[in-house]
Each structure stands twice: as structure tokens, then as C-alpha cells.
Amino acid sequence: MRSNLDVMSSAALRSTTQRTTTPRAGGLRRSLGERLHKVASAAVTPLEPSDVLDLFNPLRRGAELRARIVAVHAETDDAATIELKPGKDWAGHIPGQYIRIGIDVDGRRQWRAYSLTHGPRPDRHISITVKAVPGGVVSQFLVHQAKPGTLVHLEQAAGEFVLDHTHHKLLFVTAGSGITPVIGMLRNLFPVTDSGVLGLDKLDQRSPSLSRGLDIVVVHLAPSEPQTIFRRNLTELHDSGAVTVIPRYDDVHGVFDVATLAELVPDLAERTTYACGPHGLLDALEAHHAERGLELYTEQFRVGAVEAGEGGTLSIAGQTLELDGATTILDAAEEAGVLMPSGCRMGICMGCILPLREGAVRDLRTGDVTVAVPGETPVAGLPVQTCISAAAGACTIEHKERVR
């Protein structure tokens, strides 16, 4: 993937060089394109030319980023992998990253963030693996009802939870669907028997050192064996000797205790740890590793404890709403009919940030209060994540209701 990105950036560099060496041709072409766009705009007003093109090819270059569902593969009873064909402008990803995906459930657009679970594939498709959370609007829909052919909305891949290739001895600690970014990394490193993944020979040619010399242990926690997504892939990787998988099932081994990690992984001290799972596990690991001075990278999957405050009056998009201390600004504003930007709805993806102009909001995960005072805090306001923030007294949030 790294080399892939390098190729891309050098291609971009080349095209800029070309443009600078032949400025007149580029300028002419550009102005011709601009003129055509102007005529097209004048011909289809009040629509935009893109609205018309979307009728015929919503995945074209220059369109808003979308993807079409190509297939839905069941992983377990309540988990499925959604294979997507992204639009032409998809810029690729690094295994471990996630995407924000917007899908219409029951007629309503919902945005969520999911880890990409394949490395880059030769067919340029991407995939996410979703576990149906009880009561989860989007996850239940994606696992049980999503149909191939459906168009979804997309944002480019994001996230810092990616492999640092300077380390060779690695430990992954994953719990439940926390395996998803890690399986993406593993599938990219090793060709598992999945028709969508690059063959070993191709992988070696493109990036010969990618998986060479790596020593990887995966400690994976799940409620039980049948409920483990990617069980087959993990077993195959383990059997082929590519990685060592140490599964811990609650129903067999009891609930995992971080203190026993060193027993499972005797050379723990020599390894760099990547962990992904619920906040309880991550908090425990952070304390555990900090005590021993070990390196740890984490990706949180679920929102932590909710700490309610006193609530207050929220002014947003011309509306005044009375909020209690436990309702998020995002939920309350959507309920009032405001078109809000949103994403993971758990404080990770930063897709819902809006500026707080005045007043106070409370972070429901930590209880931290952010206060904006006109004249003291920046004129543009303090960015707050509306999906995990509740009103803490009167507050004003700037939002012009133009989502894109």
C-alpha cells in the first residue's frame, strides 16, 4: 500500500510538471472545460450539471463519492461483509483505516464509520464487515437487509490505526468486531484463501518486504467460537504459520483479564501492541502497558460511560431547543428537523464537528466541559463533536444547514 501511494503521488507530481511545462495548452483546455461547464450549467439551471450526470453514472469521476453494494457475504449469524464498488474518485486506503458510509435506512440517511476489512484488491472493490448490534439501526440493516445494487454514500478512508513497518514483532489484541481493522491489515500482509485478496507472487513483486520477517501474535477475544467473525481466515493464517492466533472465548476461558496477557504472550515486552475493542479493554490495556513501559496503539470501538449533566437551551440553525443533560446535540437537532452532519455517532470519526460560538457543552464520554466565550475564544467558535456532546447550560452552535 505504501508503494501504491508512492506511485500515486509521483503520478500526481508528473501531471503537475506537465501542466507547468505546457501552461498554454493546459490553460486552454481548462478554459474550454470551464466554458463547457458554464454552458451546461446555464442549460440545466436550477439543477447543476452534476445532478444530470448522476442520473446516468453516479460513480463517475468528479461525482460526489458513492459506492454500489456488489455483494453481501454472511460471516456469522449476525455479521456480514459488505463488498462495495467505490466511485472513480476513490483514493485508496491503508489497511487498518475506516470509512464513513451513508446509507438510507427506512428512508432516512444514516452515517456510520466502519473499518475496511480487505487490503487493496485487484478489482478495486472495498469491503467493510459489520456486526449487527442489538437495536443498531444501520448495522442490523447492513447485515440482514442490504441488497446488492444499492447505492451508498461514502467518504475517503481515514484513520491513524495503521501498521508502522519499522516494527517486526507485533501483538494484536482485539475484541469482537475490534478484529475488523486488524483483519484488513493481516489480509494485506498475507494472501489468505479469499478470492478477493492479492496472490502471494503479486504481493511479493510489488512490495517484497511487506510481510517478510514479521512475527505476529493475535490475541482475539469473543463471546464464543461460533460468534467469531473471520474465524476461518484466522484459523488458516494460524495453520499456515503466518501468525499465531490465541483465541479467548468467554464461554470457554472465562472473561479475559488483562493481567494474564503476559502468560499468553511470554515475549510481550519485545512486541509493539495494536489493540482494538471496547473502551473497558483499552483502558485496562493502557494502564497495563503504561506500568510496564510498553508501546501501544489503540482504536476505540464503542462509546464509554455516559455522564449526564444538567442540560440547557441550545440555539442552532435558527431554532431554540430545550435539551436534557443526556441527549446529544446531534440527536436533539436531528429530531427537530435540522440537517446535521454526522458519522460514527460515537466520537471517533470527527464527521459531526460544528463550531460552538457561545456557552457550554459536556463531553458525554469524559464529562469534560467545553466553554466558548465570545471575545475570549476564537471568533469562528470552538469545534465540538455534536454526537457525544450534550448541552451544559445555554449554548449556541453555528450551523447553516449546508451539509455538503
Partner: protein, 406 residues
């Protein structure tokens, strides 16, 4: 018809305040049942209408590239007329009401939608959503009621200039999109004010509207005709025709909504500033009229054929009005109110009849027969040319005659 509260036999005299609040609760329950069941099939409906409209408009404009051939002109013009009507009525009007905001689709949202009309979506939302729907049929407050120029009620003083209102209404019908744009700007009132007294945003709104008018005209009368090459002139004619057809249609549908005989109007002073939800509902119920007809008629009218239901709940998805209409009609019956519904020709006739009747002095039409036409015309002439006292005297005479005839 006169202002409801002045009538001796008021249509709502038999209702107690408790009845009215109970009626409000029953209507709220109907509304809630629709809100609770909004979902995928509704979303699919509006997307399908939008898609159909876009294909129809593109297809029609493509056919019109060869508009110098008469069959292409006819097919293209018909298609474009329907496309423009769909854009304005079932799509634009309803999206701008926020009927589809619940989908959270940033492309189909009242805050971003723009339509094929001279008036800007922003200006229209203010004058229509805020003023007309809040102050429905309140004389002097609701500009939809005669657009602030026409005489729409017996209680408004008759002036000689009232005689011109059928002509005014006819011209307004032909250029309706510009009429709406002017009325969104409150052009009549603002131009009468000295420049420095006009609201600060007036100049800005005028420039936005002019920009919109220019863009619309450029598309229909320059760009599309130029793309048609040798069919330039016939494409101009086709676009002009489609715009006029759309204007006449939308004007007629809107006249049917509040103008037919028997629809109530209200006095500004009679409206309690603390009007309850039930009272507000009641005003909407009696101030609106429906058009009966086929499914196609409902779609082409933007479901304003369900004007009563639309006025009760302007923000419910238009495709659901048909389903709640029988429940609403049953409530009208239960509370002894008149559910005003008739075919399109009947309602259009009724509305025009009212426009003509009110262009004449009160009771003039009622007291006129073919046999006394010459003398009646003489009375009308005197009322038009005479002094205010003369006018008052002749009016009393007409009122007496009418009372005698009754």
C-alpha cells in the same frame, strides 16, 4: 360569502371550545400516525417522481432540438410543460415545505432545493410557508388571498378599479411565476414606500430574484434555442408555451385551493393572538377547498388537490394526503362542518365566478336579470363615475333590492 365571524349563521356556531380542542386532538392523532409510519416507500416515491421529472425534462428538451418539425414541437412542448408542472407542484412546492426533510438527504431538503420558477426558493418559503400557511385566509395578512390587490370578500370596500380585477387575474394567470416572484418581494407595498423606508433586505432580495429570472430566461430563451440551431425560434416558442401552460395550471390549482365560493375568510381582528391548536386547525379546515379527481390529477396538482389536508399538515409527505383524506372528511362530518370538494372544472368556475362577482358592487350580480340589464348597467356606470356619497346611496339601493328578492 363574507368574513366568517360576521355571519349570522356562522359555520362554527354549534361548536363549543371543548369540541374544538377535541377536534384538534383527533387531527393530531391522524398526523402522528403518518409521522410514525414514514419510511422507505415514501422515500422511494419522491425519488421516483424526481427521477421521472428529470428524464422527462431532458427527453423533452432533446426532442425540442428538432422543434422545427411540428410533431417534435408538439411532443416536446407537451413533455416540457408536464415536467415544469411536476417540478413546481409535486416536487418543488412540497420539498420547500420541508415535507421530505426527515429523509436527511442533503440533496432533497428544504434548505437547499431550488426550482424552475422566477421566484427564489428562499423568498417563496418566507411568503408562502411563513405568511400564507400561518395567516391562511386572514384578509390583509394572507397575500395569497387576492395577492394584496384583488377584492376577495364582500367586506372589502368596492372601488371602481375593482372592475378590472378579472383582467388582472387573467394576466396574472399567464405570467404567474413572475406574479409570485413579485409578491414574494412584496413589490407592491415596497415600491409605494420611499426608498429609505424600505426594509434593508429588500434591495438584496430584488437582486437575487432578478438573478434567478435572468438564469431562467437564459436557459429557456437563449441556451436551449441556440443548442437547437435551425430550430431556434420554434424552441423559443416551445419554451414560452411550456412556461405559460405551467403558469395557467398552477394558477388554476392555487385558485381552487382558497377561492371557490363557500370557502371562509377571516378578519384580522377576529383572530385571537392566543389561537389554540384546535382553533387554528378549524380555520385551515374551513379556509381550504379540495379538488376531486384521478391519481394523475393529484400528482399534477402537487397534491394541492388535497388542499384541506395540506393546510392542516403542510409538512406531511404529499403522497400520504390521499390516505388521510377519508379520515379528515369523517371528522368534518362528525363535527358538522362542510368538506369542500369538487371537480377541477367546477372549482375553477366557482373561483372565477367569485372573482367576477366581487369585481362588481355587492349584490349587483344578484339583482341583475337579462330584462333589467340596461338599467343595471346605468347603475354600475353611476357607481363608477359618481362621488363616494352617490356610490354609497346606490349600494344601499342594491342591498335593499337583493333583500327584497331574497
Amino acid at each position: 360569502m363574507t368574513v366568517i365571524t360576521k355571519k349570522p349563521d356562522s359555520a362554527i356556531a354549534h361548536l363549543t371550545p371543548e369540541d374544538i380542542e377535541e377536534l384538534g386532538r383527533e387531527l393530531d392523532a391522524i398526523r402522528q400516525s403518518v409521522i410514525d409510519s414514514r419510511g422507505e416507500s415514501d422515500a422511494r416515491y419522491i425519488r421516483r417522481v424526481i427521477k421521472t421529472q428529470r428524464y422527462l425534462e431532458l427527453g423533452s428538451r432533446a426532442v425540442l432540438l428538432a422543434s422545427m418539425f411540428p410533431p417534435a414541437w408538439v411532443v416536446g412542448t407537451a413533455g416540457l410543460s408536464v415536467a415544469k408542472i411536476l417540478d413546481n407542484m409535486e416536487i418543488g412546492h412540497n420539498i420547500l415545505h420541508g415535507q421530505w426533510d426527515w429523509m436527511r438527504d442533503p440533496k432533497i431538503h428544504s434548505t437547499v432545493w431550488e426550482w424552475d420558477s422566477a421566484s427564489t426558493a428562499e423568498g417563496w418559503k418566507h411568503s408562502h410557508n411563513e405568511l400564507h400557511h400561518t395567516y391562511t385566509n386572514i384578509i390583509g395578512k394572507d397575500n395569497d388571498l387576492g395577492y394584496g390587490i384583488m377584492r376577495v370578500d364582500e367586506d372589502q370596500r368596492w372601488m371602481p378599479s375593482s372592475l378590472l380585477q378579472p383582467l388582472f387575474n387573467f394576466v396574472n394567470m399567464l405570467v404567474f411565476e413572475y406574479g409570485i416572484a413579485a409578491y414574494d418581494l412584496e413589490l407592491g407595498r415596497n415600491l409605494r414606500l420611499p426608498k429609505e423606508k424600505r426594509p434593508a433586505e429588500f434591495a438584496e432580495n430584488v437582486s437575487k430574484t432578478l438573478k434567478k429570472v435572468r438564469k431562467q430566461a437564459l436557459k429557456d430563451y437563449v441556451v436551449h434555442p441556440l443548442l437547437s440551431g435551425p430550430s431556434f425560434l420554434s424552441t423559443v416558442a416551445a419554451n414560452l408555451t411550456a412556461n405559460v401552460v405551467r403558469n395557467v395550471w398552477s394558477h388554476s390549482v392555487i385558485m381552487c385551493g382558497h377561492f371557490p365560493e363557500g370557502v371562509e375568510t377571516y378578519e384580522k381582528a377576529s383572530i385571537d393572538p392566543n389561537e389554540t391548536r384546535g382553533e387554528w386547525y378549524l380555520r385551515q379546515m374551513l379556509g381550504s377547498a379540495n379538488i376531486s379527481g384521478s391519481k394523475a390529477m393529484h400528482i399534477m396538482s402537487g397534491n394541492l388537490s388535497h388542499q384541506i389536508e395540506h393546510h392542516l399538515w403542510p409538512d406531511l409527505p404529499s403522497n400520504r394526503y390521499a390516505e388521510v383524506a377519508p379520515k379528515v372528511e369523517a371528522l368534518f362530518e362528525k363535527y358538522g362542518l362542510r368538506y369542500h370538494s369538487a371537480s377541477m372544472p367546477a372549482q375553477v368556475y366557482s373561483a372565477w365566478h367569485k372573482v367576477v362577482r366581487l369585481s362588481l358592487p355587492n349584490n349587483w350580480l344578484a339583482t341583475t336579470k337579462p330584462s333589467n340589464l340596461p338599467s343595471q348597467l346605468k347603475v354600475l356606470w353611476k357607481m363608477t363615475r359618481g362621488s363616494r356619497a352617490e356610490r354609497r346611496r346606490l349600494q344601499q339601493q342594491l342591498d335593499l333590492e337583493a333583500a327584497y328578492l331574497a
